[in-house]
């Protein structure tokens, strides 16, 4: 039995009067890929933003390795070991690929370790090495997604949050992105994955949670959810 790395308990998040997330509870164990699936507006992104500290919970607890994150600021949460690859990639346009990666390691003081990790990223994503001096905005969508993932990994997180990594990408890149997620996970990274592409997400996830209107409707192993008739009907196109 591996231990829990993240525990979300009875989490509620509001946008003004709108209750975007209601009493959501889930957990992630070390080394797992856990996915939250659900339609647009189900509250998936809101949950990730709240874990990262960009939004504040109205209620509930978020415990990461025994430490409560609910009251921490976003930079403190990164320092605690949670990095996010945000929806839409949000790479820093006007800055080079290398500068983007350096920003990922912003809080790290171990210069040599950062250099080493940079080399490791260049090895994993050769295109980034090739383009390291280029403005990050000149990369294609798929390359930007790789950059955003590499940037998050530069912080050496213990938990990686991925918000819609396949959104808006050419099909050729979608498979590649999921392969990368799998291989990062194999090397020991715990991953919380949010996807509209539920079939792909469930097929690589250990466990999944199905969200609708801000609530958890169903949970199970990735395989069970893939085979569940209700999930198939609602999220996998029958």
């Amino acid at each position: 039995m591996s231990k829990e790395i993240l525990e979300v308990d009875q989490l509620s998040v509001n946008y003004g009067a709108i209750k975007a997330v209601r009493d959501v509870s889930f957990d992630i164990k070390e080394g797992e890929i856990v996915t939250l699936i659900g339609a647009n507006g189900a509250g998936k992104s809101t949950i990730l933003k709240t874990i990262s500290g960009l939004l504040k919970p109205a209620n509930g607890e978020i415990v990461f390795l025994g430490q409560s994150l609910a009251k921490l600021t976003a930079p403190k949460i990164v320092a605690a070991g949670v990095s996010q690859v945000p929806e839409g990639r949000r790479i820093f346009a006007g800055m080079t690929v290398k500068e983007n990666l350096q920003l990922g390691a912003y809080l790290r003081k171990d210069k040599n370790g950062v250099e080493k990790d940079m080399e490791a990223m260049f090895k994993r994503f050769p295109i980034l090495k090739e383009r390291q001096k280029q403005d990050a905005a000149t990369l294609s969508g798929g390359e930007q997604q790789m950059l955003a993932m590499a940037r998050a990994l530069m912080a050496r997180p213990k938990l990686l949050l991925l918000d819609e990594p396949s959104m808006g990408l050419a099909p050729i890149y979608i498979q590649e992105i999921f392969d990368i997620i799998k291989s990062i996970n194999k090397e020991g990274m715990t991953v919380l994955l949010i996807e509209q592409n539920a079939r792909q997400a469930l097929s690589i996830a250990n466990r999944g949670y199905v969200l609708a209107s801000g609530e958890v409707k169903m949970t199970g192993s990735g395989q069970d959810l893939l085979n569940d008739p209700a999930v198939q009907k609602a999220y996998l196109g029958g």
Partner: protein, 292 residues
């Protein structure tokens, strides 16, 4: 030809002041998307700091310049923390109106404290004029040009090659994404206001030295001209802001030399209108390309 070179030197000296102001205006705008109308008033504070420390504490030029930069940098940090930070998520126009309020506060506060009299700036450096084949250049003009060059290069170094500079640029691009890197937004915005205001403080001491007269409302027009310079150069570009500043200085001097002194301010605003119509991105402006 002689007159041309003479006016070129005069224009570049005045342009240096605008360049320093425009740089500060631009980096502050870049990070807070706020037209800091109080920027010109921070420059006025710098001039008064120079006036008092040179007269009463007998500071030399370098000491006065450096301490003015520190004091104005602090003033910028305080202005941001007190007036702008609470409005960060408010509609843009609320912050804009507040900036005008801060500007009035500084102008009238100083008029109250030190009276609105025009004062003679102490001549801490004895003026010497060199004759270069009929073109006169003073040591003060040289000091202004060299100081501006050093400060501009220093700012470019900080922004392009240091960790703090990277943080500043990332916050200018995307607050949330920068937070997700672990960057403290408030600290980074404070540092940016400190740097921008320090440049304004330096410009204040330099203009005191050059024009020899200061008053509490002296920051109004240069503040607006610095804004024009930043637009001319292209918001977002450091070399652009510096070049814009020099061009505005040259334009003003040229208009004056042709005998249209009364129209020199108007000429600057005409430039603003023309630039906004023909080249809204400015000379060095970055093209905005959205990638999907």
């Amino acid at each position: 030809m002689q007159t041309f070179f003479q006016q070129l030197i005069n224009g570049l000296s005045l342009g240096s002041i605008y360049a320093l102001l425009a740089l500060g205006y631009m980096i502050v705008y870049g990070i807070s998307k706020l037209l800091n109308f109080a920027h010109g008033d921070v420059y006025m504070l710098g001039a008064y700091w120079g006036y008092y420390t040179i007269n009463y504490l007998h500071f030399g030029f370098i000491t006065a310049l450096i301490t003015a930069m520190i004091v104005c940098g602090l003033a910028g940090v305080i202005i941001e923390a007190v007036a702008y930070r609470p409005l960060r998520n408010a509609p843009r126009v609320a912050a804009l109106i507040t900036a005008i309020g801060v500007s009035f506060f500084l102008e009238n506060g100083m008029s109250y404290l030190v009276t609105s009299d025009t004062r003679n700036f102490p001549q801490v450096i004895k003026q010497k004029t060199f004759d270069l084949g009929g073109v006169m250049i003073s040591n003060i003009q040289l000091i202004i040009l060299v100081t501006t060059l050093i400060l501009t290069l220093g700012l470019m170094y900080i922004i392009n090659y240091t960790k703090t500079g990277r943080a500043m640029r990332s916050v200018s691009t995307d607050y949330d994404a920068a937070s997700l890197m672990g960057i403290n937004i408030n600290h980074t915005v404070s540092i940016t206001f400190a740097l921008g205001s320090a440049l304004a403080g330096a410009a204040g001491v330099l203009i005191g030295l050059y024009y020899n007269s200061i008053d509490p409302l002296m920051g109004m027009t240069p503040g607006i001209k610095a804004f024009v310079a930043a637009v001319l150069g292209g918001i977002g570009s450091i070399p652009g802001a510096a070049v814009g500043g020099f061009l505005i200085g040259l334009l003003e001097t040229a208009v004056q030399a042709m005998g249209f002194s009364a129209f020199r301010d108007a000429a600057v605003y005409i430039v603003l209108i023309v630039i906004l119509l023909v080249l809204p991105g400015g000379l060095f402006g970055k093209k905005q390309v959205e990638k999907v």
